[in-house]
């Protein structure tokens, strides 16, 4: 399938979901699906670096929170519409991703992961001590009640996140089927052999960190409007990092569908568990599922299905 065909298809699915949401009048469903869609974006973004090039990023929360805090900072300066805020948040996180990549990509394996975790801690400390965006007290963002044409504000946020999810998935799939995707795969497999085949590994890894960071920042930009009160501890919550790693791993890391399935599956379970059992149970569920999948299906749900199809194909 060509990228353009897929784009049309993805936009079609997005419109279909949007159309279906017009018949939903309970605002809770919008609040819940916003979070699930946000995780579709975060998991897909994480997978561009972690799944395609094999560099495990523990700093998702940092990029995500940077996007959110860009919104807080800009709104204090001069309020602009959310789509514009997402572009700014994406740019800020993308640039930080580039910088982080430049500093840390010479590290491999666990050392790179530790460096990304350290980045999250450093950024959280900086934000906590930056009074302009509220410091440790946090910052309030009061959204308007309604948006023309769409209705309640949460529905507007839902539509925006839906749009971003479509964009993220289309980008991920386009990468997979491009020269860039081949380059990423060679980095994951063997960097030395990749360089020997002419692949400029450092440049490709920088593209991956920037793109991945930018998408995470874009996902974070509407957060202040969603939570209305944002403080560093919740913005930089480790849950974002853990979830955005667990979702691709559970779904499957080598194809775009993996993080999408993982995010829909895990995100929905978490939302259901939050209202039916307890809101503290979320990470426990993630942990248990992750352990289960690592044992039963190390290549994720997608890997499991692929293996089954292959077995059926062979007599």
């Amino acid at each position: 399938m060509r990228t353009r065909t897929f784009l049309v298809l993805a936009v079609g699915v997005g419109l279909l979901i949007f159309g279906a949401s017009r018949f939903v009048h309970n605002e809770y469903y919008f609040f819940a699906s916003y979070v699930v869609l946000q995780y579709v974006v975060l998991a897909t973004a994480w997978n561009i670096l972690g799944g395609y090039t094999g560099y495990v990023n523990f700093g998702t929360a940092a990029f995500f929170a940077l996007g959110a805090y860009s919104t807080v900072a800009i709104n204090k300066l001069y309020p602009i519409p959310i789509p514009a805020l997402m572009i700014v948040g994406g740019a800020v996180s993308g640039i930080v991703g580039l910088g982080m990549g430049y500093l840390t990509l010479r590290l491999r394996g666990a050392f790179f992961s530790i460096a990304t975790l350290a980045l999250a801690v450093v950024l959280q400390t900086l934000i906590t001590n930056w009074d302009y965006v509220g410091g440790s007290r946090g910052a309030y963002t009061i959204p308007p009640m309604k948006v023309p044409l769409i209705g309640p504000y949460i529905e507007y946020l839902f539509v925006i996140m839906l749009g971003l999810a479509v964009i993220a998935v289309v980008i991920a799939r386009a990468i997979e089927h491009s020269r860039l995707g081949f380059g990423f795969a060679t980095i994951r497999d063997d960097e030395l052999a990749a360089e020997a085949s002419g692949v400029p590994t450092l440049r490709l890894k920088l593209i991956a960190t920037s793109l991945s960071g930018a998408l995470m920042g874009m996902a974070g930009a509407p957060l202040p409007y969603y939570v209305t009160y944002l403080d560093p501890a919740s913005g930089f919550s480790l849950a974002y990092a853990v979830n955005s790693i667990a979702m691709p791993l559970i779904g499957g890391t080598t194809v775009w569908l993996g993080p999408v399935i993982g995010a829909l599956f895990l995100g929905t379970i978490q939302q259901v568990a939050t209202v039916t059992i307890s809101s503290a149970l979320n990470l426990l569920i993630v942990g248990l599922l992750l352990v289960g999948f690592v044992i039963v299906a190390p290549n994720g749900i997608v890997g499991l299905v692929q293996a089954r199809l292959r077995r059926r194909g062979q007599p």
Binding site: R179, F182, A185, T186, D189, A194, G198, P200, T254
Partner: protein, 245 residues
């Protein structure tokens, strides 16, 4: 005589206090078949890594095709025309055999000036290379399905896919049977006849002697002989290095 394709001047590389390469000087002419031998640990692979940019030598100059290359990263050297095969095959494990060859085509051949290869041309080129090394029926397999010999053929094919001017084959034949060695030798000689300069690093003396027009011997990081293969192997210093006093 025209300018050499590869010129190495006073190249030295040390790891801590250990001198792996000690002021190496050598030249390779365009179209030549050069053998590089030496006992284990004599610095052959270190030299290859310095030429390909994986390691940075402390001192010395490397000129390739008239340009200084010592500051270039490995991928830039590959694009200039130095291709290598690894001593232990390092295929891209998650890509099919054909896709393994597609990587250098996309990133080296298509990165050079001139019109890039179209997708159909890429497919054709992959098929052609697989035919050449006898892996055509394995095109869609993953590297883990290949035997050791096939893996080495893939390694060579991937180096060839980059359309190099200079091919450095680092022990491409270690562990292969007599007939398989002949197979690979014939392939290398065909490549050389097609205009590719080849440096062969090898322990199998039969292969080196049959292949090389010139032989370079490294011992303990120093070049101790360089010249006609027959004369070099009769050199007392070389005999001493290999056989002891």
């Amino acid at each position: 005589m025209s300018a050499p394709l590869l010129r190495v001047e006073d190249l030295s590389k040390r790891f801590g206090g250990f001198v792996a390469l000690d002021t190496i000087n050598l030249q390779v002419q365009t179209g030549e078949r050069v053998g590089l031998i030496g006992p284990n640990g004599s610095g052959k692979s270190t030299l290859v890594n310095c030429l390909c940019g994986v390691l940075r030598p402390e001192t010395g100059k490397v000129h390739f095709d008239g340009k200084p290359i010592e500051a270039l990263p490995p991928h830039a050297r590959t694009r200039l025309g130095i291709a290598r095969s690894f001593q232990l095959p390092r295929p891209f494990a998650s890509l099919s055999v054909a896709d393994n060859l597609r990587v250098p085509l996309l990133y080296t051949v298509n990165a050079r000036p001139g019109p890039p290869l179209a997708p159909e041309q890429l497919d054709a080129r992959c098929a052609e290379l697989l035919q050449l090394v006898g892996l055509a029926d394995k095109a869609t397999h993953l590297p883990r399905d290949l035997t050791q010999v096939e893996m080495r053929k893939l390694e060579l094919a991937r180096a060839m896919a980059a359309e190099p001017k200079l091919l450095i084959a680092d022990e491409a034949m270690a562990g292969l049977s007599h007939a398989e060695v002949d197979d690979i030798l014939a392939l290398l000689i065909r490549l050389n006849e097609a205009g590719i300069t080849i440096v062969l690093i090898e322990h199998i003396m039969r292969a080196v002697m049959g292949f090389s027009q010139r032989l370079i011997v490294l011992v303990a990081g120093r070049k101790i002989a360089d010249g006609d293969p027959q004369e070099v192997v009769r050199n007392p210093e070389v005999e001493r290095a290999y056989l002891g006093e």
